[in-house]
Symmetry: D2
Subunit: 313 residues, 4 copies
């Protein structure tokens, strides 16, 4: 079930669950995957930045990806294979594709600046992983400091047939979606899937601009699924009502750095993770921050039942 | 009326109004200032980044600052004097202080990296402008790429008595407010005013962390005034309710780059600016984006009457 | 005498002479200009980065440029007009062109990343200064963090007829010269002057790659003039011999930051500047560093008489 | 033979030899190591940035390090273990220390900005690799964008007893050596070894400032050994004469990016590498560049016999 340009819906970015001592918590992996299946996720992405991929050893990376893939045979699983060099990228790609992954996601290294360099990098990456492996461009300038114009993405898509999806997380990014869909309409670019990240901060309008769904890790991916569904069904105001109810918490989780600590805390509070532990380096969630998250949850619960959780231990 | 560490409330960041042809629109300056006075602003900041200060010639900068100061004799006016060199910074400071400004705001140049360099820069800036001119540190890493730890801010405050305020716009930034207020409590730093920027994206919790108010330019500064007032009055849920109602639009306006175009459009829609024009380089607001802003306004109007505007011409 | 694409030879980057108290030293300006004339410079650039341009007020900038232009009526003078905004750039351009400048030099702001942004910036700059003002692209990624590919330069040259020169200081940069000259040969780009900066660190081979000369500020511009002359006369080994003799000192002067302090010290030692003073922020030259420079001078004097200076006061 | 703060002399940065098809060339590894032994190197560093470490898979990294260690039982071998995460860093450290490495080298990730972050990172790195593993700080701002002040290095040295060496490649960097040696003299920092990198561009004066030697990869490490020896023996002018003879070529090799291609070409020309191949992404050495290198070699041969090589095949 290789990933294709027809991908749509919600591909949650799965966090990597750790025990408090830093070991990988496989039971929580299973629980997470089952949860994603249950809420109607249409795919899954593992070993993303916010999956703490760079903190895993090679062996651990393969183990985590394998376990997710096995647990969710019905879901296409995308594996993040970004690496400082092509040897490591190739090695991981071969292993996870062999294990049944649907495709891989590649972020540009933060040394790239010019259009030429960006296109050249993806060309070399495809040389390394093989032209038969479907891949996703991760376009996240806030995190990677690499700015890809729509024209650069069009060049990559035009040159590299195995490019099937854009993980869109530019900010601001709405016009980029419009520009890419415009390229498709004017025939200058073949269609690819556009799934949006950046914690879903603009998912409401991204869907209206032509996105195919979400590819992010907000702790209420069930909300993301609903918003995508409502939006596709043209229930515009209902989509915005639900989205807006979550926005105060979603914004809090979208903070760089500490955001993943918030996300893991919320997933723990929802009973999906046994621990909110992150591997070092990691920001700590202060007692005040935890109280703020609880306050946000309490306020959200008035508008979305799913946020009604038993008080923390 | 020099600026002191007792500053509090809302100091809107005033945009610089232009006509469509790029000339400065002084009538709109007056209208804006009158509006700020009417909604209970406690001060005013002009010639900030989002006042398009770098796009003005020296003469224009002085003219804009002077006009705002004269129009609002009751309000302390802070003038942004950030400049590539100290000669220009000194020249502008002398002129605006002579014209009645309450103090100046200084952002660090984006070449600064180490703690040493940052403290040294503010030391030299004070040498240039004079130790008797109250100044505000602008701490906006997203825009300036300079990261100041709480300890660095403490060093600046400790060394330079004329530092009276922090324009806090780090992101994430809540823990920084707590850390600075902690320094004050443990006696290691004298108290300074902390007014928050970054479009107010976290103003709700920033107030609870110990901020003294807002120093930003969201197109509904009347909402900022209300939230600060409610928060100070300990009407917590009312403050959040109002804030949350605005968050979808506020988030839209907080986008880097295009955000100022959104803000100016909104201020024009509110009848405060004659034109939403920006000077080059400036992002254009697409028709789709304008429609999205109108949609957000319509949704907001259900919860805040002030957003009920006659349809655009 | 407007600057044209036929410019060649050596355009020294003139430092701005200050007295120890920071005031501008006009007598040293005159002495410098006379010296440049005497050694066979073919032009002059003022208000560059290493002319400490950002540290001058607007009035001072105009004064310095005017004085240099008047003192050297026989030399085309290029004035650096890089500014954070187009209003200031336009204002300075109008004044210096009115005063007799041959053209202006524009560096890209360090926020530019994509090819699109870079080309767009120069387009807007020409809108601001007028299409009749000859301009020089300053391509100095080490200092400005903006990377222009040969293709981007070709787009600028193609779109903007008033672009007549490239101040080439990319590093590594030899292939860029070859690429641009290749574009000219294959007819895809009209010819522009390429004068090399970066303290002349690769001037020996840059001439062989097709550069037209030097546009930099090494404290022995007489050597630069000789090397360019020898290179043009195809006296290859003689050019390299002279260049290599200077390389140990030239390398020392090419250090970022402290390099300008070295240069001004050397120009003072040569009797051209009354003081080596720089305006703040400026690195100090330690006693050890001064001793190293004297050591380098002593060693150089064995191979180039011009470095034989009376011991420092 | 663990690395200690008494390290001195020349620790060449070993390149990783590849065949033209990208496979690792173990015979060239052996030849290189034998050569380093023969010229009087006092140690060896493998898997540095210019050892193309990020382009190796984990297994290859271990293989290369192991082979070098075995081949040079008499030399302390430092292994670069910089990695995007601590799990990978720990894993590689355990394997190479088990294989007999003398210590490891750790570069800071380019996301670090504040003093706090830098010190915190090394603290966590030591937690990961174990406090018993001697480590080297790699201080290379040009490549990593992390600026460490002398005070920050002092904090790391003070807090972490296993820090025994600084690979000094700041630029400008002479004052940093003086500052650190000053800290040692005033008793505020224990002594550590300082070995200089950055291709040796300032090795002549770095030795005079108090460096203990070189830790870089210039293709004539025999020259580095001689300069260090002459400098230690107080034969100042002889040291400079030899150094200056090499400077034109050394400068050419010091260019970012293409420099490693130059280095590998030279090592191939000297018969030490079977191929100059680099793994992708890698800059190509143009025919013109190769001719320039040959020209530089020819000129150098007049002053240093070791550069007299048979013409290229």
């Amino acid at each position: 079930m290789p990933l294709t340009a027809d991908a749509r819906g919600v591909y949650p970015i799965a966090p990597t669950p750790f025990f408090d001592d830093g070991r990988i918590d496989t039971a929580s992996i299973d629980r997470l995957v089952d949860f994603y299946l249950g809420i109607g996720a249409t795919g899954l992405t593992v070993l993303g930045q916010l999956g703490e991929a760079p903190k895993l050893s090679h062996g651990e990376s393969v183990e985590v990806a394998r376990r997710m893939i096995r647990r969710a045979p019905a879901l296409p699983v995308i594996v993040g294979v970004s690496a400082p060099g092509f040897a490591a990228m190739r090695e991981l790609t071969l292993e996870v594709m062999g294990a049944g992954a649907a495709g891989v996601m590649i972020a540009p290294p933060n040394t790239l600046r010019t259009d030429e360099q960006i296109v050249g990098y993806y060309r070399q990456a495809v040389d390394a992983i093989g032209a038969d492996v479907p891949f996703v461009i991760q376009d996240y300038p806030l995190s990677f400091s690499v700015q890809m114009t729509p024209a650069v993405i069009r060049r990559i898509v035009g040159e590299l047939p195995s490019c099937v999806m854009l993980k869109h997380e530019d900010w601001p990014g709405l016009e980029k979606i419009s520009a890419l869909r415009g390229f498709e309409r004017d025939g200058s670019m073949r269609r690819i899937a556009i799934l949006c990240g950046n914690n879903g901060l603009f998912l409401d309008y991204e869907m209206e601009r032509g996105a195919d769904g979400a590819n992010t890790g907000y702790a209420f991916p069930d909300m993301l699924c609903d918003v995508v569904r409502l939006s596709v069904a043209c229930q515009r105001e209902a989509a915005h009502d639900l989205f807006d109810a979550h926005l105060p918490l979603l914004r809090y989780e979208q903070q760089p750095g500490v955001g993943l600590a918030v996300r893991k805390y919320l997933l723990m509070r929802r009973g999906l993770l046994a621990s909110a532990a992150m591997r070092q380096p990691a920001p700590a969630l202060s007692a005040t921050a935890r109280a703020e998250v609880e306050h946000l949850l309490g306020r959200l619960a008035r508008r979305d039942e799913r946020a009604r959780l038993a008080p923390p231990g």
